[in-house]
């Protein structure tokens, strides 16, 4: 049996030749993403702005009566709901933001959802309430804060880790690649107006972990080659390292993607945002590892004597990972 080879042996692509145009493109994309986030804004879900999200199924009906639902809910006087198709044609999601001045009444979100569900049940006896998420202004504020903090802490903690294990240039390079990935993901959410909720924070943290995974594999090879070829010019050495790890990069991205795509196509509707974010992150993360994280090292002036030539990597933890303990 002939084995499949995704990347031919002795591949030698001059990735770094294009680093300046790619940097320009990346910076443009980052700027565009933040521009979108700041102008269009993120479509924040009830987790972060409070209010409720109610999912309903009209059992035995072909379609959800969106127009009449909108009227019935608007008649309650809390404002207009956002009603969307959710999965099958007879399923819908109803979103309702908290009215102004609801800070004084922590239980308002809950009262609202109670009145909306009972109004729907009265008007449509066949309606089935599949789920209710109702979050008060206070809780949503806290969720937003902790979500933001966890992103920030993750980026800092991971960068410190790389700094300690490699050199400061690598830490900064990794951090920049992370910033790139997070920015583009946020930009995607601003562009598509997909709902941005707690699950998406989880997705972004996962992207951070994945992208770093990629970056570190390349960095690890760079470190190794720096020790091996002490006279090689840095751009050439970076190209060599990226090429040597390319087969792995392509293969791993592919396996993660083929695991994710069925989830995107056949998975539950409520997971779509999460899966879409991670899928995008795989592309963005792979790109940033090659075109952001590695070339940055040139500008930061990594040299072969940045590393003590002794075997720094062999500590106890690694041996445990290899199962030698």
């Amino acid at each position: 049996m002939k084995l499949l080879k995704l990347v031919p042996d002795h591949t030698n692509i001059h990735f770094l030749k294009w680093r300046v145009p790619f940097y320009a493109i990346s910076l443009l994309l980052i700027a565009a993403s933040w521009g979108l986030v700041l102008t269009k804004g993120l479509n924040l879900g009830v987790d972060f702005v409070g209010g409720q999200m109610i999912r309903v199924t009209f059992v035995g009906k072909p379609d959800a009566p969106v127009a009449s639902m909108r009227d019935e809910i608007a008649a309650l006087g809390y404002g207009d709901p956002i009603i969307q198709r959710f999965g099958q044609p007879n399923e819908a999601s109803i979103r309702m933001k908290l009215p102004e001045g609801s800070d004084e009444r922590p239980d308002l979100a809950n009262t609202m959802s109670q009145r909306i569900t009972s109004a729907l049940k009265t008007a449509h006896p066949e309606v089935r309430i599949d789920g209710v998420d109702s979050v008060s202004g206070k809780v949503s504020g806290e969720l937003f804060q902790t979500g933001l903090l966890s992103l920030l802490f993750a980026m800092i903690a991971i960068s410190i880790y790389i700094w300690v294990r490699f050199e400061w240039q690598f830490g900064v390079g990794g951090l920049f690649a992370l910033f790139h990935d997070v920015s583009l993901t946020l930009g995607m959410f601003a562009l598509t107006q997909l709902e941005f909720d707690l699950n998406i924070v989880a997705a972004i943290l996962t992207i951070i972990g994945y992208s770093l995974n990629d970056t570190i594999v390349i960095y690890d090879r760079i470190r190794e080659n720096l020790k091996k070829f002490r006279k090689m010019p840095l751009p050439e050495l970076l190209d060599l390292s990226v090429n040597e790890t390319l087969a792995r990069t392509v293969m791993t991205s592919l396996t993660v993607l083929i695991a994710l795509i069925p989830l995107l196509l056949f998975g539950p509707a409520s997971l779509f945002g999460l899966t879409a974010a991670i899928t995008l992150g795989i592309f963005v993360g792979t790109y940033s590892s090659i075109y952001m994280a590695a070339p940055l090292l040139i500008w930061f002036g990594v040299r072969s004597d940045s590393f003590v030539p002794t075997d720094t990597g062999r500590d106890q933890a690694e041996r445990t990972a290899r199962g030698e303990a």
């Binding site: 499949l4 789920g131 770093l212 396996t255 795509i261 990972a321 199962g323």
Partner: protein, 532 residues
């Protein structure tokens, strides 16, 4: 590399077998196969988003505790001053600005009053509950200390948790989780709960029951305008009662509180065919109730629940047996709910629902099914890709992946962790990433072979060199997942747990276990070339 001692092989294999066995009950229940009851069955908990159920976050109003303490203190002060011999007359009592102040009529009583107050202001142990000051010679000012307020809130939350516990247990068949969160919050999680509204109504009801005499001197127009005569207070009628929208003035003092109940049952009044709640007082309460009704025959008294009037019937005759009926336009269901709430005791503080997440059981089942299908397809494709790319080494990686899935399920079952919807996504991601370690190793072995290393050496170097990258890369994932766990809420926590377990088990299976197999193959077959 080839040297894999027998004891180590045995140890690894037994670990694999034990952990995989632990996964079987969960695997059976997720795929709908019946697991024999006689066998031990550690299963993964399904999160509320998969099993259906309610998550309710309740918050107490700390200000209410503070004002309750002021009220209680006012009553205590009045009563010690009255009971002193000779009684100390006080006046100008005020509870404004969250402190209690009053004047003693004669300056000569100040020292005596202070003596009487000291035991009231010092709480249990070393804690000081109030600070006591005398200003302008005869004015006493009592200010609650923060320490005392915190302790009171803490106590109230503890007993609120007990009350909720009793109420939910009274409906039976649920396996609820009720935990305190932070200083002033309680989380209730009830899996499989079909009717979250009923659950919330039951939990949220304070169930503070009071019997107070109606103030018949109050002018109806004043009452409607909300102006109570001195010594009285105004309560609205509860929604759903015949006088809803109306108000009534009742006397502040001399009533009976519902905390001396021994039992409450929903019954039907045979004469009126009305749903009522029959309550039973303890001995002390019965005596008080008898005294109140004897002294006030032919006068109306108000039955007040959570500061709303249910009804205000006339006292036709003294009630001596310690049994009373509460009427208030109940349905059979609402009467039963009130009975449960009264039996379990009143909540010491109002609790408001500030977050609610419920998932219907049908949606949960749908999510599991589609999640499982997606997982199956994804895993199948990954297995195939590894096989056609790396041949024998891909097969080892595939075996490691299957083991990895079993180990994750097994560890989750043993640790009794919860699988949530995002957890399924975490699972899929783990499957995709788990093969990364083997990809790294196998690519490295290919590379070393191209450089002309001999078989055993190439494998040896492949594992050693790849391990460093694998270790560094996975640590960053663990860091991200730990932060997710620390800061995440609900389902996101579930995602993080799966991710952490997945990273650890995938490194173990992909590196250690495949190495054992590869070493076994090299020893057995002594190949001169590798098909990789």
């Amino acid at each position: 590399m080839l040297d894999f001692p027998r004891w180590k092989q045995i140890w690894l294999w037994s670990l694999i077998i034990v952990v995989s066995l632990a996964a079987l009950p969960s695997l059976a229940s997720l795929t709908g196969v019946r697991w024999p009851q006689s066998l031990p069955s550690p299963t993964i908990n399904l999160g509320l988003d998969l099993a259906g159920g309610s998550h309710i976050l309740l918050e107490a109003d700390a200000r209410q505790i503070a004002s309750q303490r002021l009220e209680t203190m006012e009553e205590a002060v009045r009563s010690v001053m009255r009971q002193a011999s000779p009684a100390i007359r006080i006046g100008d009592v005020s509870t404004k600005d969250r402190r209690l102040s009053f004047m003693v009529d004669s300056a000569s009583d100040v020292d005596r009053a202070r003596e009487l107050l000291l035991p009231l202001v010092n709480g249990q142990g070393l804690r000081r509950e109030w600070t006591l000051n005398v200003v302008d010679e005869t004015r006493f000012v009592l200010v609650p200390t923060q320490e005392g307020l915190d302790a009171a809130l803490d106590q109230a939350m503890d007993s609120a948790k007990d009350v909720i516990d009793r109420r939910i247990n009274a409906i039976g068949t649920l396996e609820p989780t009720i935990i305190r969160q932070g200083d002033d919050r309680i989380v209730v999680q009830a899996p499989g709960q079909q009717d979250p509204e009923a659950l919330k109504a039951l939990i949220g009801q304070t169930a503070k029951l009071e019997f107070k005499l109606v103030d018949e001197t109050a002018l109806p127009s004043d009452v409607q305008a909300g102006n109570a005569p001195p010594g009285s207070q105004i309560f609205p009628y509860a929604e759903g009662t015949p006088f809803a929208g109306g108000k009534l003035a009742v006397r502040r003092l001399g009533g009976i509180k519902g905390d001396s109940l021994t039992n409450a049952q929903a019954t039907v009044n045979p004469q009126t065919n009305e749903n009522v709640v029959t309550i039973q007082f303890d001995q002390q309460g019965a005596a008080k109730f008898a005294r109140l009704t004897t002294q006030n025959v032919n006068k109306p008294f108000a039955i007040i629940l959570d500061n709303k009037i249910l009804s205000a019937p006339n006292i036709n005759e003294p009630i001596r047996g310690g049994t009373a009926q509460i009427s208030g336009s109940f349905t059979a269901e609402s009467a039963n709910q009130l009975a449960i709430a009264l039996r379990s005791g009143a909540l010491p503080v109002d609790l408001k629902v500030i977050e609610e997440r419920t998932v219907g059981p049908d949606l949960g089942a749908d999510s599991i099914r589609s999640g499982m299908i997606a997982m199956g397809i994804g895993t199948g494709l990954v297995l195939l890709l590894m096989l056609v790319t790396y041949g024998r080494f891909g097969f080892y990686a595939d075996m490691a992946l299957v083991l990895n899935v079993l180990m994750i399920l097994g560890i989750m079952a043993v640790l009794n962790t919860t699988l949530t919807l995002p957890g399924i996504a975490g699972f899929v991601l783990t499957i995709g990433a788990a093969v990364d370690a083997n990809v790294l190793i196998n690519e490295r072995i290919r590379e070393e072979r191209h450089r002309g290393r001999r078989v055993v050496q190439a494998v040896e170097v492949g594992y050693t060199e790849a391990s460093r990258a694998i270790f560094d890369a996975n640590i960053t994932n663990v860091i991200a997942a730990v932060l997710l766990f620390l800061f995440g809420q609900g389902p996101v926590k579930g995602f993080a747990v799966v991710l952490v377990i997945g990273v650890v088990t995938s490194v173990f299976t992909a590196v250690t276990i495949t190495r054992m197999w590869v070493a076994g193959y090299l020893r057995r077959a002594r190949p001169t070339d590798l098909h990789i």
